[in-house]
Symmetry: C2
Subunit: 209 residues, 2 copies
């Protein structure tokens, strides 16, 4: 990216990109009821120029969703979750460090929550992916870790899934506290992850769940 873009008369590609990036920042802060005039002001352009690049406000919002959500779940991470040559603790820590770096970001978290409150279908779709590609694999590995029967013997139950959701949600909630509540939180997220993973693994085994 250019350090200082001359904001006057950009190429269509650059302008569109600039608007999109500005819109992500803007809507993450104000929510999607934020006004196009204020967005334009923040971008240093006039409001009608937005409409040369995006036919409606809604279409801009949908590009924001695309930009923010697309390709945030790397299939390699789920693959690594099931690689039993590594300890499960190590795999889970590595996963949550990667995952959090991609998604526990100010703009991602806030836009995610705004869109969920608006009942954007995107949210349900994303939750489906998380359960399928992350939580289910973890449940299966946890069964193995605790010496419990495989999913072929008895399928993963809703309660097992929700049990893992507590850890997953607890870590996600750290990002909510940071970026939505804007609370002071531990800067050392890796330590929080390591503790949460250890606790979940040892606790689940010890409590014989």
């Amino acid at each position: 990216m250019n350090a200082k873009i001359n904001n006057r008369r950009l190429s269509p590609e650059d302008r569109e990109q600039q608007i999109l990036e500005g819109a992500i920042r803007f809507f993450a802060e104000k929510g999607f009821s934020g006004q196009t005039r204020e967005l334009a002001l923040q971008l240093g352009i006039t409001q009608p120029l937005l409409y040369r690049y995006f036919p409606t406000k809604r279409s801009l919002i949908e590009r924001v969703f695309e930009e923010v959500y697309i390709n945030k779940l790397d299939p390699a991470w789920s693959a690594a979750l099931t690689d039993r040559s590594q300890s499960l603790h190590k795999r889970l820590c590595a996963f949550y460090c990667n995952y959090s770096e991609a998604t526990y970001r100010n703009e991602w978290i806030r836009i995610y929550m705004f869109s969920a409150l608006m009942e954007e279908p995107l949210n349900k779709h994303y939750i489906g992916l998380v359960e399928e590609q992350i939580l289910m694999p973890i449940c299966i590995e946890l069964r193995d870790y605790c010496g419990l029967p495989t999913k072929d013997i008895s399928p993963i139950s809703q309660v097992e899934l929700d049990h893992i959701w507590v850890m997953h949600g607890g870590l996600f909630y750290h990002a909510i506290r940071k970026h939505i509540y804007r609370s002071r939180v531990s800067t050392n997220f890796e330590e929080i992850v390591s503790r949460a993973v250890s606790t979940m693994l040892e606790g689940t085994k010890a409590a014989q769940l």
Copy 2:
């Protein structure tokens, strides 16, 4: 409450209460950018009538905050948390069942999240109460449970607090999934609480955190 209120010409007290309750339902659903005309329509009254009872939209929103937030943390619950005549597991389960019944409700959760995204000061205040009246006591009890030094010897650290935040947030996240994401979740929340508490207690002890 009357089962079916005659909506025509109510006493000022009844009308104000009706508007307030309707506003809670309405803003919980649409967020605070929801429009007064739509609220009035939903209440079966005309929009200017709102302004007889609340001078501005903002003042109505502030009444909604009051109504939703006030007196939701019963001091008796925190007191019960430190009653060592009961097992810590039992105390925590009892606490989270009480707490969730008061706060993990559709309107509470959604208004809470909308207000947090708007950076209402209320949110920061509430988080302070939670840390002080709920999480700190739990940290202290957990130290005792794990045979670790009391807070007089070494004060509760941010990492310890964040460790408990993972469980607390994980349970709260269950309500987010239910009321904000509107996902299908376990109906038996008590079981989820019991598992989360057991896992946290046994895991923290076993992992020697």
